[in-house]
Structures are given as C-alpha cells and as structure tokens.
Amino acid sequence: MLPDRVRTLIQLLSRLPGVGEKTAQRYVLFMLTTDSDYGAQMGQELIALRENIGHCSLCGNLAERGGSDEPICSICTDHKRDPHLLCVVARVQDLMAIERTGAMRGRYFVLGKLLSPLEGVHPEELPIERLKDRIASQNITEIILATPPSVDGEATALYLRRELAPMGITMSRIASGVPHGGELEYADPITMGRALAGRQRLSR
C-alpha cells in the first residue's frame, strides 16, 4: 500500500529508541509535507555525522574527526580543566549528565561497558590498560568512580578500585542511591551535583 521508500524509512526510524511504528510514520509524513529543505538537510547531516564525529582517543567522549589526527574532544583540549583529576563513567550519556552539573573540574574516561557476567561482559572487555596508561602518562592523582549505582555499576567500581589500587592514587565513589533505577542519564543536574559533591573517599 505504501511506496517502498516510505516503508523503508519508517522501518529505519522505528529503530530509534522510544520511537514506535506509528510515530515513525508521522515523522515520514511530516518530512514529505513540510518544506523540502528540512528532509534534505537532515539527510546531509546524518551522512556527515558518521564521517565527522568519532570517539575521543583519550577519553571516549564524542569528538570531531580532524584529518589524519586521532580525534580529541573539547574537554580533553580544555586547558582550564584540572589535569590531575579524572572521572570514570560508563557511557557518554553519563559524562553529559555530569557535565550538566558544571561541578566537574577534571576530565573523563568513558569505559563503554560495565561488568556483567549475565550479559557475558568480563574484565578483559573493559579498557583497563588504556585507563592505566592514561593515569600514568598524565600524572592523574585523583579518580572519581562515577559508574551508575546499579549492581553492575557497583561491581565495576569495586573491580576498578582493586585494579587501580597499586597505582597509589586517591579514589572516591559518587554517593549512591541517587537516581532511581541507577540511570545517571535521567538524574537532574542538582541531584547529580549532590552525588558528585557527596562522593566517598575510598581507603587504599
């Protein structure tokens, strides 16, 4: 009934988080009926997105690709940041949630994953060596473990704490029980700021 192209686009859009088939259909019809530039511009931006945006080679944050160099994000190049303080997070979304508080003076390290034997994620899949390199090469003296307060986030924090202990750095853990369900992404800036300010110093 619908032209193939329309159906394909509906299928593609309905793969987006939180978008069902009905919503996807509304989006496609909107793009067909609104001014012609809108869809074209979105198409160009989508193609440019994967070509121009990658992950920061230092921290894993989103970063602009610049020619042949490894991408470096705006936080890692920000010289006003405390170079010795590093905040370890699970995902880029969590980094963004902490950035929104404006309370983080240091830089970040994105793990990309949390330990989870039930989903088959084991320590060898965490970028521990890269994290250790970063700590050693950049003279990091303090680490904030800001993985979410879920069971997996807590297990990962405990594991990192033990792995990094021989490096002799100060470590702290964000205050727990803050966002419901352990999703930092949905915490408002005030709550997130409190979790950061209330972080517990971990004994070595």
Binding site: L115, S116, P117, L118, H122, P123, V151, D152, E154, A155, T156, L158, Y159, R162, H180, G181
Partner: protein
C-alpha cells in the same frame, strides 16, 4: 488516623471474557457470584491489574487480554481516605502502561506501591504446607508495601547472586572479578535479610493473634523469620569464598536469602509436619490478616482485600470468623463465590453496605 483505600468505580475492556463492563463498586463488600468460568475471577484480576499493573493469574500481560484482541484497558476511580484519583492500566503488545489522573508514574513499582492490595485465592493454600519459596515470596510481598525501597533489595540481591553463579559456572572459581560480585552478594544479601526481618516483625504479632480466632483458641501459632546467612558481612563473605567449588555445581550459593524461610510452629512443633488441613487453612488466613495489619501500620492505609472463591475452600464457621475480622478492620472487600445463597446467611459479613453482582458469561447484573 488510618485511611481506607477503596475502588469506587471499575471499568474493564477486553480482560478475558469481560468485553466491556462498568460497575459502581462504592460499597464495603462487593460480591461477584457465578459459576466457574463465568468471569468472576477475571473481575478480581481486573481489580488487581488496576492496583498493581500486574495480573495474579498470568505472568505475561498478553495472557490477560481477550482472545483475538490486541489491547485491554482497566480504569477505576479510587478513594484513598478522602482523596480521590483516577487510575488506568493499559495492556498492549506485551507491554503494560499505567497512569494516575492521566499522568505517568515514576515507575510501575511506584504505581503499584500507591495502591496496596491483599489477595487470597485457592492457590495460596499451599503457603504454609508447601516449600519455603512461597513463604519467601509472601514476605517479599509484605516488604514491597512496607519498605520505601520496595523490591530494590530483592532485585539487587537476585542480580548479584545470579551474576556470581554464572561467573562460577562459566569462568571458574578463580575468575578475576569473582571478589567484587561476591562482595555485592553479601552486601545486598544483608540488605534483603534486614528488609525481610522488618516485614516479618510487622507481620508476626497480628498473625499469631488472628490464628487464635480462626483455630482452637488454646493453640499457639508462632512465626519466625529464619535467614540462612550470618548477619555480619565478614563471616558471610568467608562462607561464600569457601563454598565456591560446591556452589558452582549446586546451581546456587549454599547460604543466602534465596534459601530463607518463614518458619511456623504450632505449640512448638513444625506446622508443616503436625498441622491438620483445617489448621493450615486457619494459618493461611491468619497470615493474610497479618499482611493487612502490617500494611496498615507501615503505610497508614488500609489495603483493598480480594478474596477468590473462598467459600469453596473454607467452611462457614471459619469464613464467618474471617469476615468478622475483616469488618472490624473496615477494609474494602471484593469476593467471588459459586454460592450466591450464602450471601443472605451472613457468611460474607453483615455489611451495612454491600453490592451483589451476578456474573454469567462475562455479563454482570446487580442483584
């Protein structure tokens, strides 16, 4: 002052054989009488869905929807003390969604916690006779309503325990991340033990007292929460560490909340061994009374009581004793029965306000 929760109006669309039903349920006791398969239990299912967003009969939402239909809706007007609210639960595509006054609750658990409901159905009868799992689930149900965190301790413990088990079975006893997972098993295990201890404490007094009214008054029922793990973290951890090899073959840890029990004794002897059938029934009723009392004390709200087909399981005398308790408590009661002739005998209480409905093939008539 303890408030009372009640459902004042109920409307059901596409729950099993209930295609489109709207009922005024503004009464102390609401009776649904009908033959087996008439749809009377589906009305209790709809009420339970309205309060909790879940069914007590089917684990998956799709099973409650009328055959051949894609969605089901239950709406109701509830009164919590003097404050009214509209609630709505929608089942569609295997997904549940719930609303208070057209607003989305913070979570489905938060939605369910707001409207405490106690249910007693024939499936509850093995509670005191059967394996410990039923009694653990019962304690966890009470804890869901009586602790602010709901099922968090249970969920966290279950995840940590399953993760440790998977690790032992797939990576062996020397997996590099076994220590962190074990630490979390002990931490959340202790949290859950404390949660259950509180639930048991809230429950047991009222249960023991109620039993004297449903069974011979000289018999003493005692309840006690029996955890299997030590209550200090270091010993708990040491025991887990020492049992890794055995646990990896057993399929679960040798100690911990997944093995706990709510132990019941009758005059000092294990109820499971010495109890007669009648004594078991009295004990189950007493536990349900305990559940009502525990929720009332913790929440300041009297829960709604749903009784499915109790007249087929209890004799008239026990039923009368149970109802006299229920009426003293002033909770709102919904019950189903295959014996409408019992209504007039006072077996379902001498309610000053009672609505009686006849249910036949999904059609409901006020009688």
């Amino acid at each position: 002052m303890v408030r009372r929760l009640s459902v004042e109006q109920l409307s059901v669309t596409n729950i099993r054989n209930l295609r489109s039903v709207t009922l005024n349920t503004s009464a102390d006791v609401v009776v649904f009488a009908g033959r087996n398969g008439s749809g009377k239990t589906s009305l209790l299912e709809a009420l339970y869905l309205l309060c909790t967003s879940k069914s007590f009969r089917a684990p998956r939402p799709a099973e409650s929807i009328t055959h051949g239909q894609t969605e089901a809706v239950v709406r109701g007007r509830l009164l919590d003390g003097t404050v009214g609210r509209e609630q709505r639960v929608l089942l569609r595509d295997g997904v549940r969604s719930a609303r208070f006054d057209d607003k989305r609750p913070p979570s489905l658990a938060a939605y369910a916690q707001a409207s405490p409901v106690v249910i007693f159905h024939p499936g509850d009868l093995p509670l005191t006779m059967g394996p410990a799992q039923g009694r653990r689930q019962f304690l966890d149900r009470v804890a869901f309503y009586t602790t602010p965190n709901g099922t968090k301790a249970l969920d966290d413990y279950t995840r940590a325990h399953r993760a440790r088990q998977k690790l032992l079975e797939t990576r062996g006893v020397d997996a590099p991340d076994i220590d962190p997972w074990e630490a979390l098993v002990a931490r959340h295990g202790l949290e859950l033990m404390q949660t259950r201890q509180h639930a048991a404490a809230a429950l047991i007094d009222a249960t023991e007292h109620a039993f004297t009214q449903f069974a011979a008054p000289q018999l003493v029922l005692r309840g006690r929460y029996v955890p299997t793990a030590p209550d200090d973290e270091d010993s708990y951890l040491t025991m887990l560490q020492n049992s890794r090899v055995g646990d990896s073959h057993r399929g679960s840890a040798c100690i911990g909340p997944h093995r706990d029990d709510l132990e019941l004794t009758l005059d000092g002897q294990p109820l499971r061994q010495v109890g007669s059938q009648g004594q078991h029934r009295a004990a189950v009723l007493a536990l349900k009374n305990g559940e009502i009392t525990a929720i009332e004390r913790a929440r300041g709200t009297k829960p709604i009581l749903l009784l499915d087909d109790v007249s087929s399981e209890l004799d008239a005398e026990r039923l009368r004793a149970f109802f006299s308790f229920v009426q003293r408590e002033q909770v709102q009661v919904f019950l189903t029965t295959t014996r409408p002739e019992w209504i007039e005998t006072g077996a379902f209480g001498e309610a000053s306000s009672r609505h009686n409905f006849e249910v036949d093939h999904g059609v409901i008539t006020r009688i």
